[in-house]
């Protein structure tokens, strides 16, 4: 699905990603954990094509294509989805209009016709139910006045609508109460299939009780310093990040 080789990226001349290697195959769930400031959001932004970051070295192949050469919109059209850690509020752009435009531009890219209005509304209804998103919210402006939890649920709703091949969820669990966490996890689990893959970026192991990862990676200071199975998350939880910091501070 995606292969990341020796990825380096900087912002304002400061190197933040310092050689990331990662391979995610179809059907897999990978968790990336790490302390604040280790570069988790930077990695997801670079993969989504944010221009503030400069890729200085390395390559990323996404379904056989050179991802780094694609525009942000083409990455999304190729099936990459990023659930933002901090979803943006866009006053004046209705959620519905936004999603219809997105869906149709993706379809257009693949040479498909626009989705008929009736089918679109049926799809909205179905996916809305999945994440228990209030009907009123879908008619409002994108994320405007949404609570933290509603914003996160709206991200998963969009993901459900766009049906991506690779979803990167950047701390979708942070700021959620247990109920919301369960709903989000259920949404992700329902959408999971053999054909798609998920990268869960998280700070806590809590989410991993609900979405069980196949692999866990620890990101620290812009590098993946340790990888393992789901038990690594538990180990991390027990030891705490300070242990990791100590261990790899020396290794550096």
């Amino acid at each position: 699905m995606i292969t990341i080789k020796n990825l380096h990226a900087s912002v304002d001349g400061k190197e933040i990603l310092r050689g990331i290697n990662l391979e995610v195959k179809a059907g897999e769930v990978h968790a990336i954990m790490g302390p604040n400031g280790s570069g988790k959001s930077t990695l997801s932004s670079v993969l989504a094509g944010r221009e503030d970051y400069e890729v200085t070295e390395g390559e990323v192949t996404f379904n056989g294509k050179n991802l780094l050469e694609l525009s942000t919109e083409d990455r999304a059209r190729e099936g990459l989805f990023l659930a933002f850690q901090y979803p943006i509020e866009i006053p004046g752009v209705s959620n519905i209009n936004f999603l219809r435009t997105a869906l149709n531009e993706i379809r257009h890219y693949h040479g498909q016709e626009e989705i008929p209005a009736k089918d679109f509304l049926a799809l909205v209804k179905e996916k809305q139910k999945l994440v228990e998103l209030d009907v009123k919210l879908t008619n409002r402006s994108v994320n405007e006045g949404f609570s933290g939890g509603e914003k996160k649920r709206n991200e998963i709703f969009q993901m459900a609508m766009l049906n991506p091949k690779l979803a990167i969820l950047d701390e979708t669990d942070s700021g959620l109460d247990i109920d919301a966490l369960r709903i989000v996890a259920q949404g992700v689990n329902t959408l999971k299939s053999k054909e798609n893959a998920t990268i869960l970026i998280t700070h806590y192991q809590r989410l991993l009780d609900y979405i069980v990862p196949d692999y866990v990676h620890i990101l620290y200071k812009g590098r993946i310093v340790k990888s393992g199975g789901k038990e690594l998350a538990l180990e991390l939880e027990a030891k705490g990040y300070d242990e990791i910091k100590k261990e790899f501070e020396i290794a550096e």
Partner: protein, 428 residues
């Protein structure tokens, strides 16, 4: 040649070329015409040395674009007007500055009186030029001296007109010409009207249009106006609105400027009695070398009045936009509420926006606030949209439409709103 001489030379030359075809004006008091001529002789057509025209040099525009003014106006037929009409409204036409009864629709609504300015009665005559004073501005003066047979429109006492009235101001010339349109809109006590004023240019020649409209709201009157400016690239225009609002009356205007090489709006509102209100909104979209300059003046003279202003602009290319909002709160105008906001987006490095709030407050118990912002398109929002598969161009459009929405949603005439939305999207 000294500067003063050049200034008067442009004005002089313009007056001479207009003089040839100028009709005798019977509907403006002689004293006002004398004052207008004096204003033109002393002050001339304003240039950028004039504080109020700092970013909008009318004199230079006339010198550059209207070296010869040929007044080559042509007539139009009903079929030429069709495209500009609004179905749900009563459509009236002012052609080349004169009210045209032939091109206008028959008015079936009770309580409306329409005349050309030449036909007004003595009492009505007293109103003309009572609000738009020549000494305050040379373009009012120019209109006062050279206007043709304009429109007098009245809603008689206690009539709520059920459908909008749409005045189409249309010019048609094949050579450089200057038109001076004039209208007086009178809403009598207890009456209500929705008025759309569209400005278009049907000809192939350059036109400088100098509009003056006086609007008078008697007690308890309500006037909701939409000013739709879409005169095209060969048009240069100055629109002066001199509005007087009386007790319990409510005036609102939304000005939408979609084209015109130069568009200057002078919107002056006198809140002349207690407990009345004014709402001014504006949206402009400029490209190329266009210039749009909105000057508003809200004069709070009496207590318990409210004013609201919201102006938005989007400028690209080498175009420029101005919002200059003056608010006077006179010493008797206690308990005034006055709000003003101007927000703008610059789409290129060569585009400019000038904003200037000017508040002069002489009363102590008032609530006034103003805010301006000028920025680029929100890159975080743009990234968010693109990250969902929306292309750069549509993402920009979505964001600009969202920005404009706050003004466009003020339009309560559905078909006008549709038309504006379509044109807006096409122009983006």
């Amino acid at each position: 040649m000294s500067l003063a001489e050049t200034k008067s030379a442009v004005t002089q030359q313009l007056m001479e070329s207009l003089q040839k075809q100028a009709p005798k004006i019977a509907f403006i008091p002689d004293a006002e015409i004398v004052s207008a001529i004096r204003q033109l002789e002393e002050k001339g057509i304003p240039n950028n040395k004039h504080e109020d025209y700092k970013y909008c040099n009318i004199e230079a525009c006339i010198r550059r674009e209207f070296k010869s003014v040929e007044q080559s106006f042509q007539s139009l037929g009903i079929e030429d007007i069709a495209a500009y009409k609004i179905d749900e409204a009563i459509n009236l036409v002012v052609l080349n500055g004169a009210y045209s009864a032939e091109l206008s629709e028959k008015v079936i609504a009770k309580g409306i009186s329409i005349k050309s300015l030449n036909d007004i009665s003595g009492k009505e005559k007293d109103l003309i030029a009572s609000q738009a004073k020549s000494f305050s501005d040379s373009l009012i003066a120019l209109n006062t001296v050279f206007c043709n047979n304009g429109l007098f429109f009245k809603v008689e006492k206690n009539n709520a007109i059920p459908m909008p009235v749409h005045i189409i101001y249309i010019n048609n010339t094949d050579k450089p010409s200057l038109s001076n349109s004039r209208s007086f809109i009178h809403i009598e006590t207890g009456s209500e009207l929705t008025l759309i004023e569209s400005f278009v240019n049907a000809g192939t020649g350059k036109v400088f249009s100098n509009y003056v409209s006086e609007k008078l709201l008697d007690e308890n009157a309500k006037l909701t106006c939409y000013t739709f400016q879409n005169e095209g690239a060969a048009s240069y225009s100055v629109h002066t609105n001199s509005v007087k609002v009386n007790r319990y009356a409510n005036y609102s205007n939304t000005t939408l400027t979609l084209s015109g090489e130069l568009v200057r709006n002078n919107h002056n509102v006198e809140l002349a009695a207690s407990n009345c209100e004014a709402h001014l909104n504006g949206l402009f979209l400029t490209k190329g070398t266009q210039l749009v300059d909105n000057h508003t003046l809200i004069d709070h003279q009496m207590p318990n009045c409210e004013s609201n202003e919201l102006y938005k602009g989007i400028a690209s290319g080498k175009s420029s936009g101005t919002f200059n909002g003056k608010i006077f709160v006179r010493k008797d105008a206690q308990k005034t509420n006055a709000y003003q906001s101007s927000k703008n987006i610059l789409l290129s490095d060569d585009a400019t926006i000038n904003t200037k709030p000017q508040l002069e407050i002489y009363a102590d118990d008032v609530k006034c606030s103003h805010g301006t912002s000028t920025g680029k398109i929100d890159t975080d929002a743009l990234f968010y949209l693109k990250a969902r598969g929306i292309g750069e161009e549509s993402a920009r459009k979505l964001l600009l439409q969202a920005f404009a929405e706050e003004v466009i949603e003020k339009i309560e005439v559905e078909s006008l709103k549709e038309r504006i939305l379509q044109l807006f999207e096409k122009t983006l």
